[in-house]
């Protein structure tokens, strides 16, 4: 019995240790910079502003990319030190993290919201109490005084659907892959397609299913669609890239990949490679680099009182990636280490 107690203690310690290890590692990036700023702060003799970035889930490619770009962007501001606190995709965790940041006296909080509509009231409350907030990448504009730096998911759908219109015949047959049920990004991108493409052409949607953002699901659905619709499918319209690439893999196995066009959204490294190889026709990117630079600029202006209102709302233009400009993104992703 004693043994069991000892072991459960040991397991607890091991788990806590591994968690700390994880936190420690993610902090490392911040800490190196922190040390840099601390030294300069001593030299300046001035105050250092503490800024927290609360991403959705650092194991998601976009969130970790945005965190990297923010870390880089804030290097330009000597008196600001950035800490990244992960929410692991849990709304509950993100809410507690916000609470912690405010309690610990952070001067500014940058929120990559998991569910903006659910977080609005809480954010508004914190702003009223004196901590300025920024919604980055996703915002439903529910908080008047919060800064906002976003790439509109609707715009992402618009640029790809516009290109799809030019690439597909008016009476094309398409299959549609959706993100998880209730997901704002998926809903908005799909709405853009409806208004800009399906509503304006004579296209037929052969089937439309939820693929949960997953490559494996996209592949499985496409395998089944090929059985039913065969060579009738002219295009795969996917609300993200992973599912589109999965569908491509399925089409390749059936040997009909060249007769079908594949459209995605996200524009990250995997998609850039797929566009370069001629597997995907087009995707759209929400540029984390531009987003981070704008975010850092606004944050600095608010903290230094250069912005008298205390907030600013900007929209980052979205970028269409096709075979014509893909080389530029391959270079970029190779340089920033997202592509090895």
């Amino acid at each position: 019995m004693k043994m069991r107690k000892f072991v459960s203690m040991f397991l607890m310690v091991a788990m806590v240790a591994s968690m700390l290890l994880g936190c420690g590692a993610s902090k490392d990036e911040g800490t190196t910079k922190e040390e840099g700023t601390t030294n300069e702060e001593v030299a300046n003799g001035g105050d250092t502003f503490k800024v927290a970035f609360l991403p959705t889930d650092m194991s998601m490619t976009f969130a970790s990319w945005l965190a990297d770009e923010l870390t880089t962007a804030f290097k330009a501001y000597d008196d600001i030190e950035l800490t990244v606190i992960d929410s692991k995709g849990e709304l509950e965790t993100q809410l507690s993290n916000m609470e912690t940041c405010v309690a610990q006296g952070y001067d500014y909080v940058i929120l990559l919201p998991i569910e903006p509509a659910a977080e609005d009231d809480i954010v508004a409350g914190y702003i009223e109490e004196g901590t300025p907030f920024m919604m980055i990448n996703l915002d439903d504009f529910g908080v008047e005084n919060a800064s906002s730096v976003i790439a509109n998911p609707y715009d992402l759908g618009i640029v790809v659907s516009e290109y799809a219109k030019s690439q597909l015949p008016d009476d094309a047959n398409v299959v549609v892959l959706l993100g998880p049920s209730g997901n704002t990004d998926s809903i908005e991108r799909r709405r853009a397609y409806e208004e800009n493409l399906f509503g304006k052409t004579n296209m037929t949607i052969l089937d439309e299913q939820i693929g949960d953002w997953e490559k494996g699901k996209g592949m499985e659905l496409m395998e089944n669609w090929i059985q039913v619709h065969g060579d009738k499918i002219d295009a795969v319209i996917s609300m993200n890239d992973a599912m589109a690439i999965g569908a491509y893999e399925a089409a390749k196995e059936a040997g009909i990949q060249d007769d079908i066009k594949f459209f995605g959204v996200d524009g990250l490294a995997d998609a850039a490679v797929a566009v370069e190889n001629g597997e995907m026709t087009a995707t759209a990117l929400q540029d984390a680099k531009v987003m981070a630079e704008e975010g850092a600029r606004i944050c600095n202006e608010v903290l230094t009182k250069a912005n008298s209102e205390g907030f600013e709302k900007v929209q980052i233009p979205v970028t269409l990636i096709t075979e014509e400009n893909v080389a530029e993104f391959i270079t970029r992703y190779t340089e920033n280490g997202m592509l090895k």
Partner: protein, 330 residues
């Protein structure tokens, strides 16, 4: 005698359910009963079935392994990385299997020797696995995996997908282990009544430790096949496979209280779910409706299995001798 009758009856009732489903499906959709579509179904269930074999063996021994999904994701992705670094498929595959065995050994160590609940240990291991691979890759997926994809995308003799071949090999291995080895009989004995097994001279700790190692290896193989099929190393794709594996095993007649279950039953359970997913997509059934239908049919399948078993062998016989022993002990 009784223990032997039970799994057999379960197996046949499942075969009947599956035949019934196939008959209905071929009426509902003309695209269902084609060789390509049936191959697709087998291909689509192969990865989860390999996980389900591992899960079934674990459940038979009275434990549970929730680390299977993310372990598959981690081992599969690390094997991709190994392949990219060395260009040697055999080396990468061996590395993946050993990694799975190592993680399984840690799980087993805590469960078997330190008597911690497997539910908690493997739940913790799940996050450790995902954390470890994310830490290594910095949250990025691995692309350009080159020939690693033969593990999931190639075909043998031009028609047999390698993923299906892997599933068949694992089916044969699981069947042989459970039916023809001492180790397999020990699993049933331990799951039925661990104290009795111990009293009968079974080295319970050793066997439990070993089954977690085996489970880890199965998960790793499933993970590598998965990444081959996806033509990329995507750790997060493994998530959820542990519960799908439990569903397949339980529909396949694996007793959640341990001590009963077969490899073929598990295989059939997995195929039943696969056929269900397939026909609903062929018919273009609405996504939300699919979820409800799937859940209902799973309950129906287990219920049908339960009743067919009761009719044939009577309720009292249904409770296996080991179950009776268990309740007597309580």
């Amino acid at each position: 005698m009784k223990e032997k009758t039970k799994p057999n009856l379960r197996k046949y009732s499942l075969v009947l359910i599956l035949i019934g489903m196939i008959a209905i499906c071929s009426i509902l959709s003309e695209n269902f009963l084609t060789p390509t579509n049936l191959t697709n179904v087998l291909k689509q269930v192969s990865i989860v079935t390999i996980c389900a074999f591992a899960q079934a063996m674990i459940i038979i021994s009275g434990e549970i392994d929730l680390s299977i999904g993310f372990l598959a994701g981690m081992a599969g992705t690390f094997a991709c990385i190994m392949y990219i670094a060395t260009g040697n498929l055999f080396l990468a595959f061996t590395f993946g299997v050993l990694l799975g065995a190592a993680v399984g050994a840690v799980n087993g160590l805590f469960v078997a020797y330190f008597k911690l609940p497997s539910f908690i240990v493997t739940l913790a291991m799940q996050t450790i696995c995902f954390g470890a691979i994310s830490l290594y890759t910095g949250g990025q997926n691995i692309y350009k995996i080159g020939n690693f994809k033969v593990l999931g995308q190639s075909k043998l003799f031009g028609f047999l997908p390698v993923t299906v071949l892997f599933m068949i090999i694992m089916l044969i291995i699981t069947h042989t282990v459970l039916k023809y080895t001492k180790f397999g009989r020990y699993l049933y004995a331990i799951g039925g009544n661990s104290d009795a097994a111990n009293a009968a001279g079974v080295q319970v700790c050793k066997v439990k430790w070993a089954i977690f190692i085996v489970s880890g290896m199965f998960a790793a193989i499933a993970g590598m096949v998965m990444m081959g099929r996806l033509n990329a190393g995507i750790p997060s794709e493994g998530g959820g496979y542990e519960t799908d594996a439990i569903t397949a095993a339980v529909i396949g007649g694996t007793s959640f209280s341990g001590g009963a279950g077969t490899a073929f039953g598990t295989f059939l359970g997995s195929v039943i779910i696969g056929v269900l997913n397939n026909i609903m997509n062929l018919l273009g059934v609405d996504s939300y409706l699919q979820m409800i239908i799937k859940g209902s049919i799973i309950i129906f399948a287990v219920l049908a299995d339960y009743f067919s078993k009761n009719q044939k062998s009577g309720i009292k016989i249904m409770a296996s001798t080991s179950d009776v022993k268990k309740s007597e002990n309580k």
